[in-house]
């Protein structure tokens, strides 16, 4: 019989994986005998720890490792997540083809997009923090709980902004594509659109990068051939002096293109149109690009358009409406039903 293992909060500490100052990480075993990774922190930052782990508990992305447990003992704080046995992206990368590498990066970009909406900046995106379990699914670990922040995948600035994660993920994608840590100005892909997207995400100043990581995710998905894009989720029709535009599904490049093209076409075909009413329930995809494109479209037609209104069935979709409405610089409003929206567009309400 071996020496009994040290225990903490019901976990047996099997093997120390790393230590950084007063934060250490262990492979541990829970009471069911299942391996987990247990990270231990000093008590002094209980406020920050509780806030970060509360946000982590709410993550539902399929590629963000969920937090399994967290708590406090007499002298320590701890957080436990799944143990992934198949290894890290650093180890597995040589076995992957280019399409799979791009798909892994796209999946991680979506996990980061989800985390950013929950107020979490990862702060240490690198191949060692992208792990694979037995099902070969890529999982991003150590959200906002990482230790040392230095190395090849650390952005030029302090990683406190979501755009720092964008830089780090683009550096990881470049590393996977060219086989080494890319240098400034190096071509990263023969796919021109992907190369341009990666270079933009790697801009020295955060202000020059994409506003949201969804734009990088969309570029990676397109390059990986991961997008079903028919543009058929858009319908534009005339209703009195207004256009009624219906957008469902995801903000794919095809949907955005169809949306702006159809509206431009209808605006030139019906000179009496003075307003646009959207039934807009699209979420996800290249949401940032959709906002830019529709905001610019309203601005372009501002000489004729008097009002823009939106009906949405969720806060996420409504968030896009607020950004589109404000960017266009016209009078705008959001509604719960198309009837109330139509009344306002006719000038009868609000």
């Amino acid at each position: 019989m071996g020496v009994p293992l040290e225990t903490m909060a019901g976990y047996e500490l099997v093997e120390q994986l790393s230590a950084n100052g007063d934060v250490d990480t262990w492979r541990a075993r829970d009471i069911r005998g299942v391996d987990v990774v247990l990270k231990r922190f000093p008590l002094r930052d209980i406020v920050g720890f509780t806030s970060r782990t509360s946000a982590l508990l709410r993550l539902t992305s399929p590629h963000a490792a969920p937090l399994r447990n967290r708590g406090k003992t007499r002298d320590r704080l701890y957080a436990a997540r799944d143990y992934f046995s198949a290894g890290s992206l650093r180890r597995i990368a040589p076995l992957l083809d280019v399409t799979t590498k791009l798909r892994v990066c796209a999946d991680i970009a979506r996990a980061l997009e989800h985390a950013h909406r929950h107020g979490l900046v990862h702060g240490a995106v690198k191949p060692e923090n992208i792990l694979f379990g037995d099902d070969r699914k890529a999982m991003l670990v150590d959200f906002s709980l990482a230790g040392a922040r230095e190395g090849d995948f650390t952005p030029p600035e302090l990683p406190t902004d979501p755009r720092s994660d964008q830089w780090a993920l683009a550096a990881v994608a470049g590393f996977l594509l060219v086989g080494h840590v890319a240098s400034q100005g190096e071509t990263l892909s023969s796919n021109v659109a992907l190369d341009a997207a990666l270079r933009r995400a790697l801009a020295h100043s955060p202000a020059e990068r994409f506003r949201g990581i969804d734009e990088l995710a969309s570029a990676l998905e397109s390059a990986a051939g991961h997008v079903t894009d028919t543009g058929k989720d858009v319908r534009v029709e005339r209703k009195d002096n207004a256009l009624r535009v219906q957008v469902e599904g995801k903000w794919t490049a095809g949907v955005i293109e169809a949306c702006t093209r159809e509206i431009d076409h209808a605006m030139s075909r019906f000179p009496g149109v003075r307003a646009i009413g959207y039934v807009l329930n699209a979420v996800g995809g290249n949401h940032s690009h959709a906002i830019d494109a529709l905001g610019a479209l309203h601005h372009r037609h501002r000489a004729r358009l008097e009002r823009v209104a939106f009906v949405s069935n969720s806060p996420q979709a409504r968030g896009a409406c607020i950004l589109i409405g404000t960017r266009g610089g016209l009078a705008w409003k959001t509604f719960a039903s198309a009837e109330t929206m139509d009344a306002w567009l006719r000038g009868g309400a609000g």
Binding site: L57, R70, G212, P315, I322, T334
Partner: protein, 210 residues
Amino acid sequence: MTLGKRTAVVLLQRLTTLLWGSPPLLLPEIVQHLGAMGALGWFAKNLPRYESLMKKWGPLRTHLLCIEASLLNGCSYCIHAHAYAFQLHYFRREGRLFPIDEHGVIALREQKDDALRSIWKDALAHAGLDEESALFDRLWRLKLEGETPRDEVSSGIHHILNMFEMLNFCGMNAQTPFDHAHDGINKDETLKKRYAEARLASDNGASPST
């Protein structure tokens, strides 16, 4: 950023530090969006009315309305800042935790409107805040059903809705990282520590597998 804009940011940072202990990370984005004079004018116009609503209605009701306005608009940053302030006030007044923590409130933005409304009203009922539930219905009608303000209460709610249309735009446009509770209660470090300990002990929303 021009010198004028930088000066406006510094002035607003000083003001909010005085009020809440530290400045919101959103301020540079507000100045960028409205311009230096526009931003100072916006605060001069809106802050006194907001403070007078806070005085009249108290922090719980006021922060709830700010959360609800931001929740319907989908702005995680503003939901967090006001939900955290609300949680601290509720914890201090009631000596117990609100049924959903601030990150759980943020997660509601991923729900469809019907589900969001039902979960939120249940939480208010469990917290003994039925009167606030009725005010949420009024805010909903003003925001999404084209109702116009007809009395003093709905005109106060309308003011909050208008304020948050601009603040939520800035928060979402810049994808501003979360900061702290936008309230003087943010200065109470002991309360924040007690609240964190209570959350960890309750493990609200957690899914421990062990």
